[in-house]
Amino acid sequence: MLPGCATAAELRSYAVTGDAIPQSLTGMAGDAARGRALVVERSSTCILCHNGPFPEQKFQGDLAPDLSGSGSRWSEGQLRLRLVDASRLNAETIMPSYYRVDGLTRVGTLWRGKPILSAEQIEDIVAYLASLRE
């Protein structure tokens, strides 16, 4: 399924099955250690809203579910869709779509036409979240 035509070239295509994207966006498995580093990095925005098993992080949000145990609640494919485009599952969600460039309004020039995260970054984060079993 291709999001937006004009910019589709910049995003890799992916197929949604049920509430999941079963295939890796890059065709490869992500790196969980890099994924953890990304999740706690401010520019990824995750812990603005979420908290989780990051005892070294003083500033975490509480607008969203605790990420602990994500991997026991969701499959990799389900996590992937929640990162790529959570609004497909809940149109009202405040969770941003991390791999989407269409259907947005007044995006700042610095960010225009780019997804929040790259396909590689999504895969790293998916690998990390899937490793959170409790």
Binding site: I94, T105, I116
Partner: protein, 257 residues
């Protein structure tokens, strides 16, 4: 803070309150989310850094300027009397342009039209000082902005902008300030976004700043294109926020983390 007068005023305008607004009894200033030491800094004039701008503003108020050789005081006299309650009614309808203007723009229109001076740049020390000095004369007064029926279409525009999702993060103001104001964003309390204290001293800025500066920061925060200073959209947002805070007490110059 003085709430009794505030409640009475709010009851008068209750007919105009929109559906999604926070009920008056639950409306809270950003002040109430702060730690005790930051509250003390705001409350104590000798500790409140915003008072430096207020004092500078008083000097500018009395200083003759430019071609017309007139000071603000030459037309308006003693600000303690003439400016009392004024900031609590801004943004206000400007007959000349047929649009709302905020307090900074009002001060600049006096400069150009009555003092024949050049307008002061947004966020300049002079403009912030004059605005802080004028706003200070409303400290404790209930916000009355939006009562003028000519403003209605602009309040509606501001509300639309407030509700609209935008930017790469695809969030609207209401997502944080109406729906999640009791929560924390990366450890920072999200408040209800009531503009009761502007211009205010933000510890993070190490300076006084205007409401437009705050709005541009929130807009950039959601990775949307910030409107230029003075843009109609920013003034409409200011207008909506002030009318949404009707009945709350003015605090300028406030302090925020």
């Amino acid at each position: 803070m003085r709430f009794l007068g505030a409640i009475a005023t709010a009851l008068l305008v209750v007919g105009a309150v929109g559906a999604a607004e926070i009920p008056l009894a639950e409306r809270r200033s950003g002040y109430s989310f702060m730690k005790p030491d930051t509250k003390t800094m705001q409350d104590d004039d000798t500790a409140n850094p915003g008072m430096l701008w207020v004092l500078n503003g008083e000097t500018l108020w009395n200083r003759k300027t430019s071609a017309a050789d007139k000071a603000c005081a030459d037309c308006h006299g003693n600000a303690r009397a003439s400016m009392k309650g004024v900031a609590a009614r801004y943004p206000a309808f400007d007959k000349a342009t047929g649009r709302p203007i905020d307090l900074e723009q009002r001060i600049n229109s006096c400069r150009t039209n009555h003092q024949q001076a050049t307008p002061l740049p947004f966020e300049s020390r002079e403009l912030l000082s004059l605005t802080a000095f004028v706003a200070r004369q409303s400290q404790g007064a209930p916000i009355e902005t939006g009562a003028d029926p000519q403003l209605a279409p602009f309040v509606a525009k501001g509300r639309e902008l407030y509700m609209q999702r935008q930017g790469q993060l695809n969030l609207g103001c209401a997502n944080c300030h109406d729906d999640n104001w009791d929560k924390r964003l990366a450890g920072a309390a999200i408040t209800q976004g009531h503009p009761t204290g502007y211009p205010l001293y933000r510890l993070e800025w190490q300076s006084l700043g205007s409401l437009q500066r705050r709005l541009r920061a929130c807009i950039t925060g959601i990775r949307a294109q910030a409107h230029d200073y003075g843009a109609p959209e920013l003034v409409e947002l200011e207008l909506y926020l002030m009318s949404r805070a009707r009945g709350m007490a003015m605090e300028a110059p406030a302090v925020r983390p």
